[in-house]
Symmetry: C2
Subunit: 159 residues, 2 copies
DNA sequence: GGATTTAGTACGTGACACGAATCAAATTAG
DNA sequence: CTAATTTGATTCGTGTCACGTACTAAATCC
């Protein structure tokens, strides 16, 4: 949430909670803006990002994105209509499909990822190299711990 | 974007860019989940958070949220319908309204903020106290620098 | 005073997200 | 080996959100 500590003079610390909240809004809006320039939504990009090194079923994709399966159908529909992904009938379960990224989709995601990286690095420029290293470590730590906590999810999905 | 470095053994560093991206997804999903438990959306909560210590016009509110004015009408409409905010005719400009949070809205936002803080602190627990302090400082630094860069926005809006 | 800008609304469109209902295929029970 | 249940996915209806366009009324400019 926005700057609560209005009554400060110089550079007041926002506190961990508000700082992280605002940082997440910053990152998200950067992502949204860049994706938008390629006429893609954040969710679409997130999906493509997942599909970079995975070939999940609809269901698995839904779990990755934290979305209901009923949301996935439309998501994949739209992406497929634009030639970003494909549905392939599963050979083991005749009910399910494997979702794969197409070359076009891969190009998109690479382009967006590059622009995003550039943007983030610009935001992070005011930090010292040592701090950036620390920040990277800490973010990784938080994210992986959380992933572990809420049921394993890391690694690809070829199980 | 999800865990790209799959070929690692222990706790590989995700890198700054991916680490921050995933961290932002984590924060956002926490926020979304908590807001959802109170039957509110992230945007609604964000708006209420802004209105905690501001009383902007529709237009100013839109700028705070980075949304088009046409989006604001519906947003405020829905919130007003639920008794979370009010529109008050401006005394200086007969075209515009001041948007204010109601007591009910304030209660909601306080409750959500508390739960959110608790959740974030839990996520951040694996870090040492010193690291948490550093993380807070760095997040603040990034956020405030960015705000300064893209046209001043900090502080309340009584300009 | 007339032209232009500004604040907000109305309307249509489209992406998401969800829950409930549905169907077919797979799995489990008995 | 049927019968019952579970599971993968789709459809449909609803609601939020975001945008662009068009429009009204009030300010402001000249």
């Amino acid at each position: 949430m926005p700057p609560p500590p209005a009554p400060s003079p110089a550079d007041e610390d926002l506190g961990l909670v508000d700082g992280l909240a605002q940082l997440s809004f910053l990152v998200q809006s950067a992502l949204s803006e860049i994706a938008g320039q390629h006429d893609l939504s954040v969710v679409q990009i997130r999906m493509l990002g997942i599909l970079r090194d995975r070939e999940p079923t609809m269901n698995q994709l839904g779990r990755h994105l934290g979305l209901d399966k009923s949301s996935i159908t439309g998501l994949v529909d739209r992406a497929q209509r634009r030639g970003l992904v494909t549905r392939t009938a599963s050979s083991v379960d005749r009910r399910s499909f494997q979702v794969s990224i197409t070359d076009a989709g891969r190009q998109f995601v690479q382009q967006v990822a590059a622009e995003f990286a550039e943007r983030i690095e610009r935001c992070v420029a005011p930090l010292t190299e040592a701090d950036r290293k620390r920040l990277s470590r800490m973010a990784t730590r938080i994210v992986t711990t959380d992933a572990r906590d809420r049921g394993i999810d890391l690694r690809t999905t070829p199980r």
